[in-house]
Structure formats: C-alpha cells, structure tokens
Amino acid sequence: MVKQKWGDRLGTGFIWAIPLTITAIFLWIIGDVFWHGLGQINWQFLFTAPIDAGRSGGIAPILVSTAWILLICMGVSLPLGIGTAVLLVEFSDIKTGFGQLIRRSLDTLAGVPSIVFGLFGNALFVKVFGLGFSILSGGLTLACMVLPLLIRSTEEGLRAVPQSYRLGAASLGISQTKTLWHLILPAAMPGFVAGFVLGIGRAIAETAALIFTSGYVDRMPSSWLDSGRSLSIHIYDLAMNISNGNANAYGTATVLITLLLMINALTSWIGATWTNHHFKF
C-alpha cells in the first residue's frame, strides 16, 4: 500500500515536472528578452530608420519590410493552403492514390530545412521569374515554406469535424458547398487558427530562407520589388555581425515577440468570432 502511494506520488510529481519545466524555460527566454529589450523600446525606436548599421536609431523600415513579407506570405499561402486541404478532405475523388501522394510530399516538404527553401526561392523567384532580391521574392519563398504546415493543420482541423455533421446535412438535402461554408469550415476553425499561428510563427522567425531572397537592405522599401530586411535578419545581423549591436538586437527581439503574441491573440479572436457568428443565433 505505502509503496504504491509513493509510486503514485513520484509519478504525479514527474507528470507535473515536465510541463512546469517547459513553461519555465519558455518564460525564462521571454523574460530574458523583455528584461534586456524593453528598455530599448520607445517611439523613436519604432518610428525611425537604423543608424550606424543598427547600433543606434530605430527599426521602422524593418518593421515595414517584415509586414509586407508576412502579408505576401500569408496572403498567398492561406487561400492556397485552405483550398488544398478542403480538396484533400472534402472531395472524395482525390482522396485516394493521388491524395496520398500529395500528403506524403507535404510531410516531406514540412521537414525540409529552410535554407533549402532559400536556395529554391533564389533560383526560382529571384532568377527565373526575375523578381530580384525583393520583398516579393521573400514573401513567396516563405509562402512555399509555410504552405505544408498550413495544409496539414487545416486538414487535421477538417478531419476533426464529425462525419455525422456531413451526413446530417446531406440527408437534409443541403448542398456540399453550403455545408462546407456554414458548417464544416466554422467547425474546423481551431485547425485553421493553429495552422495560421504555426505558419506565421515560422515565417516571422525565418532568416535563412530570406537572406537569399528578400536580402538584407535596411532602407525603407518603396515597393514590393525592393529588397527589404526582416526583423529576424536584423536580429541575426545585430547579434552576430555588428559589434555593440546587442542592445538593439534585444530591442528588436522584444518587438518581434510582442508582434507574434499579438498576431496569435488576434487570430484566435477572429477565428472564435467567425465561428460564433456562424454557430450562435
């Protein structure tokens, strides 16, 4: 009896220790970044251009470039990703052999190192399409990179919707498109949100894929065809290449993490609102 109790306690302790450790590490990293970085942040930091390779001055052009890159990336990958997942899950004709092949390829792609995507983007968008080192090339490269993540988690979301909804709707003579729009997509929202958060998290943190595509010019871009430096590249550059760049690297990292948290919160909120809009009244 006593022995078993000790075993139980040990087990419980262990089970608690793991998530606590993970949470602690996460908080520690965030805490460290904010501790060193928050002091750097003021209006000037956010709204002026970098001076002296970023040692002083702000990050305004970098924020703008990052926003454009992310916008292009998500604007392209989101409709493509959701569309592909819907095709894979909802339209049975391609559920079989071809669908399997697509799924295999996606899983492989999701595991490909980002540097490879960088080289691919460089070859295709920068050279073949002649877009040069530009925000457009970078955004499109990132889109290729996050697409597999997006498709797979959207797929999971769609598969989590009970088949009884589809059968129930069909048995009432409701067309497949109407069922999809009013029932399946809102019910699969958690999957989309997860995919979006994963995708944008990977995109916003990316450096290797961008160095060869959007480049690292830190001036304010005047169009999508200008080269532009992303926040992550800026952090990398300040931390690795620029002496005395650490303070601003921390400041930029603080901005990046804040941005990521804000985007995630906003995404969840929009997702929940849309689902409620469809499911409530």
Partner: protein, 265 residues
C-alpha cells in the same frame, strides 16, 4: 430467395427496390434485395449485425454518394422514378426522403438555427412562415413547450432524447414523404425511447417510414410490415418480408422462425 406474402400487395408502394446490391471496395454488403415499401406505413427492418440494414437504408436517399468506394447496382423506384438515374436531382430527393440517425446529430448551432438552416437552404426564408414551420415541427415532436423559451441556446445542451427529437423535427420541418430511421432509439434511455416510439407511430399515418431496429418488440409494436435481413456467407440478403402480424405469428422461412422465437441472431 425472399419469401413474399400475398397480402403485401394491398397497399400502394412508395418505394420499391429492384435487385439492389451494394459493395464497399471488395466487400459486398448486401445483394439482390427487392423490397416493396408501402406508402404511409411503417416498415421495420430487422436482422443480425452486419447484415446490411444500415447500408440498405442509405441507398434510399443516396447517402451512399458520400461514402468512398461504395458501389450500388440495381434500382430504387420512388414514385416510379429510379433515384439512381443520373438525371435525378439529389437535393430534391433528399428533401423528400428524410433521415434520422442512430446517434442524435444536431448541428453545433442554436436550436432555432438547426431548423432554420435546412429551411433556408431550400429557399424558405419568409420570416413568419419559417417561424410557423419551426413551431409546428417542434410541437409535432413534443419539444415546443420544453424549448420555446430557449430557442437561441445551443442544441448541444439538450439531453440525448431531446436532441433526437430535435433531429426528427429538423427532418420534419422539410415535410418529407419518406423518413428513414437507423436504430433511432438505440442510444436513448427507455423513457426517451418510449417517447420517440410514440412519435414514430403517429408519423406513420402520414409518412412512409422505414426503420431499422434490433428491438423485435419495437418492430412488433410500431410497424405494419417487417423485413428480415440475414448475412449469408458474409453477404446480406432479404430473407422474408411480411405484414408484421404474419411475420411474427406465421413466419414462413425457417430462419425467420428461429429469429422471432429468439433461437437465432
């Protein structure tokens, strides 16, 4: 070979299947089923697990279209037209042939929207008409008094029996001629079962009902005609179909005799 009883032909038939067979990929679920289903009567389908009862039911509203690798051959006549004819409008077919499932499957909407959704998809949007139909169908399933004050709350918060009645109301709101039911009470407690059973009996006056049930006493209580499905060499066959009284009192086929006396199945 199916045993038919001569009395069976008294009523006009609503649905008639002709040499209907269905297979999933390699597996044949049932074969060569020719079953007349009388109009505005209740037909019970009984038989052991895996004899193809559910599969048969899903042919009657072509829900089989949704299952991959499901192949149907033979014919199903509804009002003289073969519903597997490519020219048939499936949406209209499913409006005429409603279905109630084994597990209550209300949509994750409010009670109200569960009923509005199908109406809207069939072009019924006039507000007062919609509200009339909703009250009518909820009253028909005895749910109106229970839920009229919380129509806007989630249907998922209803009890299992209430959910199943809501699903029945959702089917009724489209005014179908035929209602298919696949063991509609098997997920419910005895009281809810009794309530649903009474409803089905009532509906049988104005609707053609095909109900799959494992409960022989239930088939006996509510149906006018009973059909026995049996799996032979792993393939479902229609063994006997008869007016319910004859089916239970004078079964002809030895399998039916054994089944109704509880010796087999």
């Amino acid at each position: 070979m199916t045993t038919f009883h001569p009395k069976n032909t008294i009523h006009p038939t609503a649905i008639r299947t002709e040499n209907l067979s269905l297979s999933y990929d390699q597996k044949i679920a049932f074969q060569d089923i020719s079953l007349p289903i009388p109009a505005q009567k209740i037909t019970a389908i009984v038989g052991p697990s895996g004899s193809g009862k559910s599969s048969f039911l899903t042919c009657l509203n072509r829900l089989t279209d949704l299952t991959q690798q499901c192949r149907v051959s033979g014919k199903v006549y509804l009002a003289g037209k073969n519903i597997f004819d490519p020219k048939i409008d499936v949406i209209a077919l499913r409006r005429r042939v409603g279905m109630l499932f084994q597990q209550p499957n209300p949509f994750p909407f409010s009670i109200y929207k569960n009923l509005v959704f199908p109406l809207k998809e069939h072009g019924i949007t006039d507000r007062s008409h919609v509200e009339y139909l909703i009250e009518e169908s909820l009253t028909a399933v005895g749910l109106w008094d229970e839920v009229k004050d919380r129509l806007k709350s989630s249907a998922l918060r209803l009890s299992g029996g209430q959910q199943q009645r809501l699903c029945l109301a959702r089917t009724l709101v489209l005014k179908p001629e035929v209602i298919l039911m696949d063991e509609p009470c098997s997920a419910l407690d005895p009281i809810s079962t009794g309530v649903i059973e009474d409803l089905i009996k009532d509906l049988g006056d104005r609707h053609t009902i095909v109900i799959v049930t494992h409960n022989l006493a239930q088939a006996k209580r509510i149906s006018h005609q009973t059909a026995l499905f049996w799996s032979q060499k792993n393939v479902g066959h229609l063994i006997e179909v008869a007016p319910t009284q004859d089916f239970f009192q004078h079964p002809v086929n030895p399998l039916t005799q054994a089944y109704v006396t509880g010796l087999k199945g």
